[in-house]
């Protein structure tokens, strides 16, 4: 049997990898890829807590589904922003997207 801690450590590792991607990537699309990894690691946590807790209480799975919806919304708006910026500035490098910097 796999103890709960293995799931939590796996999800912590995936979260850290995603965090590294978000902080270090230059390409704005690649930053969103890192955010996806972080959201997936949170979902692993939620579902494993559902399984290792009281199975009849569905809060973990319901929360995971809400995270799915939020991830879909985030990707749709985020990629639309990237494409819109690319049309106007011809760049997807996050450092060069500084129109709102004062």
């Amino acid at each position: 049997m796999v103890p709960l801690s293995w799931w939590l450590i796996l999800s912590a590792g995936l979260f850290s990898i995603g965090l590294f991607g978000v902080l270090s990537r230059k390409n704005a699309v690649a930053i969103l890829l890192g955010v996806e990894l972080m959201l997936n690691s949170v979902n692993i946590n939620l579902v494993s807590f559902w399984r290792y807790g009281d199975v009849a209480r569905m809060a973990g799975q319901v929360f995971a589904i809400i995270v799915f919806a939020v991830a879909a919304a985030e990707v749709a708006v985020g990629l639309a922003l990237v494409i819109s910026v690319y049309r106007q500035r011809n760049t997807v490098i996050a450092d060069n997207i500084d129109m709102m910097k004062w």
């Binding site: 049997m1 103890p3 995936l14 979260f15 995603g18 890829l33 997936n40 319901v62 919806a69 760049t91």
Partner: protein, 169 residues
């Protein structure tokens, strides 16, 4: 070491190594394809956790919609930094330190918790997980309000994405 542990370790290696490739590969199209491998691994983990509905939803929404959307976005914004120059910013070592510290902190936090070695209980015979999930999503004394808020959020995101990406020419 029994079979479930071996399955878990194989899936963990697949997820973590493809996740590392997502954040380090030079070619961004390859990074998006490695993300698909990671998402498949996570879907398999849901199946191991006996959350079958979530495994299917993971494949349909994450791989079928989100990953494909990523590949479209990469292809629409491609000609700029295609494999040219460094893909990581100059201070990537600082990001690596922050990520490692986050992992170490989470690891110590999990170690110090008393539920560290808890094992999964048995699922009662005849337990209908999908039916329970459906009931929980629409039952007024469970999660109908977050469910409806999520649908409003999706509608707002849909309209916002169309508006932002719309070309006025």
């Amino acid at each position: 070491m029994d079979l479930s542990q071996i399955i878990f370790l194989v899936l963990a290696v697949v997820i973590l190594s493809s996740g590392l490739l997502v954040v380090t590969t030079r070619d961004i199209v390859h990074a998006a394809l490695w993300l698909i491998v990671t998402l498949f691994g996570v879907a398999a983990l849901y199946a191991v956790l006996s959350a079958g509905f979530l495994a299917v939803v993971q494949v349909v929404i994450y791989i079928g919609a989100i990953a494909i959307l990523f590949i479209f976005a990469v292809m629409l914004t491609r000609k700029e930094m295609r494999d040219r120059g460094p893909q990581l910013s100059a201070t990537w070592w600082f990001s690596a330190i922050v990520a490692l510290l986050t992992f170490a902190g989470l690891f110590l936090l999990i170690r110090s918790w008393t539920g560290f070695g808890v094992l999964a209980g048995d699922i009662p015979a005849g337990f209908d997980a999908v039916g329970q999930l459906g009931n929980a999503l629409v039952s007024p004394n469970a999660f109908v309000l977050p469910f409806e808020v999520a649908s409003v959020l999706l509608l707002a995101a849909l309209i916002g994405a169309v508006y932002i990406a719309f070309s006025r020419k």
